[in-house]
Symmetry: C2
DNA sequence: TTGTACGCGTTATCAA
DNA sequence: TTGATAACGCGTACAA
């Protein structure tokens, strides 16, 4: 601890010239030169090939020299240069991860699932957000290619977007998350959103609700399927869709709040349907804010159901009944499968996994009074 | 668009042998060989140095050839190999980011701030969690070194931990987040936790509270300073610390809940102090759960204040009064400063930034009845 | 304005 | 078991 400061300054390291700041006019500071195979070879009195073998765990080397060289390498704080290694081996032990948005608690969980698996296998993760913008997604993908990632995990804007084509063209193994494709060659893991939408709506129907507000989205991933599930459930009960209030463009918490604000402003608090189905938890939370702000109680006056089961769903004002998605698993599945592809090669037919939604009953829904 | 499928398959590319899967017994699939400078040079009838200059924006090249080569490069879908480039330029345009835990909403916001800045400047982010474990942190740092990141952003287990020493020894620019150091050479951005702890407690005192439960931690980053702020505030009101209930080892929501469960079990619901100060929001949320479970209302019976202002703090059952930390800014500041160091070189004295906590008044605190 | 030649750190293929 | 040598893809002095 006390020796720490002296450490960096006084300890004699191999490279004497080419010190930082030594060369005049060098604006940007370059890192001290790290020990290389060559350095160790020199110190050990062998060639770098021998060192490479010793450290690489090759069999064609005597136990004695291996031990000697390993000790030396340790003493010299040798760390292999993965970049240089990639030049010959074509592998970087790095995986590109493209998510819609890191901040989104949904994707945060996915990221965690990925991270755990990758770390376990010694891979690093190059993480970026696409923000759902095609151009940005494309740019990111290019950057990943330039960095020679071994594979890519991606929640693409669309499964036939340009980045997907690029990855295919380059032959880079990749795995699609939270989206699916008809192409049997592609690998993906996706939630059964249709079933989820149906599940949510059916639960409300079973509680006796007959008039609905549906806060849907046309842009959000999987939202179309969820809406289809909603419609199917409604119709299976002999109800008419045209009797329901369908609000579009509900993506965020703010939009959820504003849409409900708007609706209440138009129809008043009295004529409100007794049930609300939201495309996701964020929208549901926004809707709940608006309802309470108007003196409408959840679930006493209006029942409300979300989708995703993000971590805060159970912690909000009224714990949210919602549809659970296996987010952590989604990341794990994708990462594990990708690494397997890296090991075994990619087959003709892709790996395609559908995860199944679960209803999580909390306190935001109740039976209708009637 | 329609030509897409044919693209990868039919267009004659240089490398004819060494196709994927072509070589028998090749277990791991290798990516198709991407176009290199050499390939373009051949196609253009020049040398690779010319191509390098044309694409690198050098001035010593005729506009005509530059245009011709650029067009060719575009047509051949050329992407520079950043890894190979690093061998000569010593820069990778990549930054290693080490956070305690990606899933932690606090660090998620920090990560977002970092990501935005890095992307803006064309850097990629190698993101990992240390999970607060020294060995893991060390291993991660090694991996980052091996990947030759240009710089590192880190929330270290401690500011004099081994990884910090390694980075210093290697001369790799790095920036510490959410932690500080006495060493004037180090760069860090940290919140003034002492002031924050004081702020929270003082607010409670002003509301009339005189008996406190303090849910503190000895492990958590910054928790000692927060506790000091707590103590100082208590004493400045002429109160005795020994009259307060100090509960240690409160880190997580679960621990917050269990500690309060415990306390209520021991002293009963009647003799509970009127105010609770938690080391962070997670602990506060756990405490709130426990209180409600015992029929103790917040803020009617007990006032409760958190710390961090994580995104869900305003959304929980009773919107949480808390101390706000500039998390997003913290990431931004660290990333921006690091990139600047990369450009201008690191000076003798480090950049050290203290961010100031703010009190966010919501609904979990109220004046004492008396 | 362009070409030649070399080095970066590593693995791989020979030959010794 | 070891050594010499050639890649790998790129940048860059230096020469033309």
């Amino acid at each position: 601890m006390h020796g720490e400061k002296a450490d960096g300054a006084s300890r004699g390291r191999q490279v004497v010239s080419s010190r930082r700041g030594a060369s005049p006019g060098a604006k940007a500071r370059l890192p001290r030169k790290a020990a290389t195979l060559e350095d160790i070879a020199r110190a050990a009195g062998v060639t770098k090939s021998t060192v490479s073998r010793a450290l690489g765990g090759s069999t064609r080397i005597s136990a004695e020299t291996r031990e000697r060289i390993s000790a030396l390498a340790r003493r010299m704080h040798y760390e292999p240069n993965y970049l240089a290694r990639n030049l010959t081996t074509r592998r970087t032990l790095s995986i590109g991860v493209v998510l819609e948005d890191i901040m989104n608690p949904f994707y945060t969980e996915v990221a965690k699932g990925i991270e755990v698996v990758l770390k376990q296998h010694g891979y690093v993760m190059l993480l970026t957000s696409s923000n759902c913008a095609s151009e940005e997604e494309l740019e990111i993908t290019r950057t990943l290619l330039r960095n020679k990632v071994d594979g890519v995990l991606i929640t693409p804007v669309s499964s036939d977007s340009e980045p997907i084509r690029m990855l295919r063209a380059r032959g880079i193994p990749f795995f699609i998350m939270n989206e699916r494709s008809d192409n049997p060659a592609l690998n993906w893991v996706d939630c059964d959103n249709r079933a989820g939408g149906h599940l949510a709506t059916e639960y409300m129907l079973k509680l006796g609700h007959r008039r609905f507000v549906c806060l849907r989205s046309t842009k959000l991933r999987g939202s179309r399927d969820r809406f289809e599930g909603f419609c199917k459930a409604i119709e299976s009960y002999g109800l008419s869709l045209s009797d329901q209030v369908i609000l579009e463009d509900a993506q965020t918490r703010e939009e959820g709040r504003d849409l409900v604000d708007d609706l209440v402003g138009r129809v008043g608090t009295g004529a409100l349907p007794s049930a609300m189905v939201a495309v996701n938890d964020a929208v549901a939370i926004g809707a709940m804010e608006s309802l309470f702000a108007h003196g409408i109680r959840v679930p006493d006056d209006v029942s409300l159901i979300g989708y995703d089961d993000i971590s805060l769903a159970g912690l909000i004002r009224v714990p949210l009944t919602t549809i659970h998605q296996e987010k952590y698993s989604m990341g794990q599945i994708a990462a594990t499968s990708l690494l397997q592809m890296l090991r075994d090669g990619v087959g003709k037919k892709g790996t395609q996994v559908v995860t199944h939604p679960r209803l999580i009953i909390r306190q935001s829904c109740r039976e209708t009074a009637s």
